[in-house]
Amino acid sequence: MIKHWLKMVWNRKRINGLIMIEIFVSFLVLFSVLTFTAYYINNYRKPLGFNIDRVWSIQVDSRLPAEGHKKVFADGRVQLALAMRELPEIEEVGWMWAGPYAHSTSTTSRTFNGQQVYAETNRASDDIQKVLSIPIIAGRWFSKEDNTTIDTGPLISRGSRSTSGDKSNKQPVGSIPVVINANYARLLFGSKNPIGQLPLDSTCRIIGVIEDFRKAGELSAPGNYQISRIRLEDTTQNQWGRFYIRVREGTTAAFQGKLIKILEGVEKNWSFDINTVAQARESDLKKQLVPLIAGGVIAAFLLFMVALGLMGVLWQNVSQRTKEIGLRRALGGTAENVSRQIHGEQFAITTIGLAAGSIVVIQLPLLDLIGFIQPGVYIIGLVVSLILMYTLTYLCSILPGWLAMDIEPAEALRCD
């Protein structure tokens, strides 16, 4: 029977060829949309590693040139933190280089087991863990215990703007306390206990493992993460960053103005900008989702258009083949046989188109073009788009199938 389907498809190879190409391209569109959707849904379900409820960020600008004022900055930071801790509205005060949804990113890369391994790096103060409720799965977060060590972390800027003056001092091995995320710990040490070990950057020493820290938010891919310690009073180098504070339940935005006045009272010439992290999250999510939704809507319309077109072409095929179908009915073929023939041919065409599409899609992981997409997500995308394409083409051939079943042998044979 399959042989017969294929034969009929071959007999009308030109028009069927075009339909195959259409199915092939539609499949590629559907596959990319579904794989990306699955990718983002998968990311969304993973733990974020922090909680931004009631967390505000305070940007501090001293209006002084970066060079030669390290002590002024450090003193200012300490004074501001002290002033804020006294306020009843504020529960926790911390300082971080780039907190949740901040756009600065810094990465470090080393060779590990013959492979280049990248880790995102960040710096945070002792209190950040409480501000952002970062879950710790092993070891501990930074504390006063670490005061004996020198607090300088590796920070290699990869953004468009690199900060000057951070000359890499020669640090003794294992002198910088760092926490890393579970992903990174698993990569480096497998099932061994990572606490007390040195990560790739041997000047650091791991004191704790956090669940994760997906700074870029819910849709971002999980990766390797390393956070080193910042002390507000550190004067050895410029500690860029912002304050992150957790306010008490029921504190309203009106407190922002009041807080700024208080901060301006502490540091007369500095300027401050307060935002809730939730705002940053919302605008970030919007920026990421709008193009995704736009792409999804366009793809949906494209597929709808293809479905309509396919139905039209099949319909035309059936009405053109009235004679052939009528002959088959006259020779004893049932209406179901005819309908099965229509569906079968469509199935054969779809299979050829999808086979070509799958061959192209399989090249992607083989050529390592989509390394950031997990194999599970890729397979889900592939399987679901294959199923959807078959369903779509099946639905498109239902109406033409019915039309074919309706053809009466007598009427068909009479027509010329």
């Binding site: 075009l18 190409i21 259409e22 391209v25 209006r63 922002q256 103005g257 900008d273 072409v313 035309q316």
Partner: protein
């Protein structure tokens, strides 16, 4: 004869309503996407007020200091632009402006968070802002560090409501400025002119920036003629070789003036050794091509079905001596007619979508318009769409043997 073609075309369109619907849907949908996309690109790239002289303008937006161990990339600093750009010979005007930054500005205890840009007097001559009230500040204001400001309409309405703003004072970045001008809003994507408040460079609280080679500034060069671009670029490149670098860590300074298009390409793709422009162009064409591929195949399929249905009509025409060229011509006319109808529908839908986008406030101060240029793009794409999807079926039809055609047999 053309009139006859139109009559036949209308009959065909009305006969198979389902096919007509599919064709119109595909055409109008494709056009909507292409037009909305080009309106957005137009919004970012095309010369429109205040950037009326965009074709003669070069921008300096990135500088790079290189050394054996360290590279530093940033916006150019004030000193670099002041020393090496402002003194360029043979150009009409040059201007320096800071990257706009969000500052605090309180109105009844609520922070408006406007974008503030610091610049000089020439800025207002290179860019032609629409002044609703007052006028711009001058180079003298910049030199004397006069605390004067030009604000945009949205900011004016937020702070002063309907009453005139000129002569009144506003607070921004903890400084007080006297408003001397109000301009129409500029969309946020127009990165050169955009800001809510413009004030003289001289009012920067700390004068340290005047010593920086890398910083947070951008330069604008208005050439007398676009033909001068290569000469200006060469002159600037030779000047960059003579820059005195701050330390022995660095040995080269790289900073190239580019057009607005180069600027956007650089923004999207980063530094790709001067090929950003071509990469952007190829990416744009490739994107449009890939997007149009599926609708085109779909239309070709539908069109073939339409002809097959009309096989006997073609057979009759052929038997009575119609040449292939005549038939191809007729079919193309029909196809272009239906594309044009789809095009009109698409145009209306695009207009509605762009209106919704403009009013949604998704992008600050955005004004998406369907102007003559976009209409032109759309017209070209409609035409090429109609021709592309019609040529293969028309050629196939014209090759039909009259006998087969009469019988309605199509291979």
């Amino acid at each position: 004869m053309l009139k006859n073609y139109f009559k036949i075309a209308l009959k065909v369109i009305l006969r198979r309503k389902f096919f007509t619907f599919i064709s119109l849907f595909a055409i109008s949908f494709t056009l909507v996407v292409l037009m909305v996309a080009s309106a957005m690109l137009d919004h970012v790239l095309a010369p429109m007020p205040p950037e009326n002289k965009q074709d003669r303008t070069l921008i300096l937006q990135q500088a790079e200091m290189r050394g054996p161990e360290n590279d530093m990339t940033s916006n150019p600093g004030y000193k670099l632009l002041d020393t090496y750009m402002r003194t360029l010979p043979g150009v009409e005007l040059t201007s320096i402006f800071s990257e706009q930054s969000i500052v605090s500005s309180y109105k009844d205890g609520y922070d408006l968070k406007p974008y503030l840009k610091r610049t000089d007097g020439e800025f207002w001559k290179i860019l032609e802002f629409t002044f609703l009230e007052g006028g711009p500040f001058t180079n003298n204001d910049d030199r004397n560090a006069d605390f004067v400001a030009v604000i945009n309409k949205a900011t004016k309405e937020k702070i002063f409501g309907d009453s005139p703003a000129v002569g009144k004072y506003i607070e921004a970045d903890r400084q007080n400025f006297r408003v001397i001008g109000v301009v129409a809003d500029v969309p946020i994507f127009r990165k050169i002119p955009f800001a809510d408040i413009w004030v003289p460079l001289g009012t920067t609280p700390d004068q340290e920036y005047k010593k920086e080679l890398l910083g947070d500034y951008k330069g604008l060069i208005l050439a007398r003629d676009a033909g001068d671009f290569p000469r200006i670029k060469a002159e600037f490149a030779s000047r960059m070789k003579k820059v005195e670098l701050p330390s022995s860590d660095f040995n080269t300074m790289k900073c190239e003036p580019g057009t607005m298009f180069d600027d956007v390409a650089l923004e999207i793709f980063g530094n790709r050794g001067g090929h950003e422009r071509f990469i952007l162009m190829i990416a744009m064409f490739l994107g449009a091509f890939l997007f149009m591929l599926l609708p085109t195949i779909n239309l070709v399929n539908i069109n073939i079905s339409r002809i097959i249905e009309r096989a006997s009509e073609i057979g009759v025409r052929k038997s009575f001596g119609a040449s292939s060229a005549t038939l191809i011509g007729q079919f193309l006319v029909e196809n272009i007619l239906i594309t044009a109808i789809g095009g009109i529908i698409g145009f209306v839908i695009s207009y509605v979508i762009l209106q919704i986008l403009t009013n949604s406030g998704l992008i600050a101060y955005a004004q998406f318009h369907l102007n003559v240029r976009i209409f032109f793009y759309a017209f070209i794409s409609i035409l090429s769409f109609g021709l592309l999807s019609g040529v293969y079926p028309a050629w196939k039809m014209a090759r039909m043997h009259p006998v087969n055609a009469l019988k309605g047999v199509v291979q």
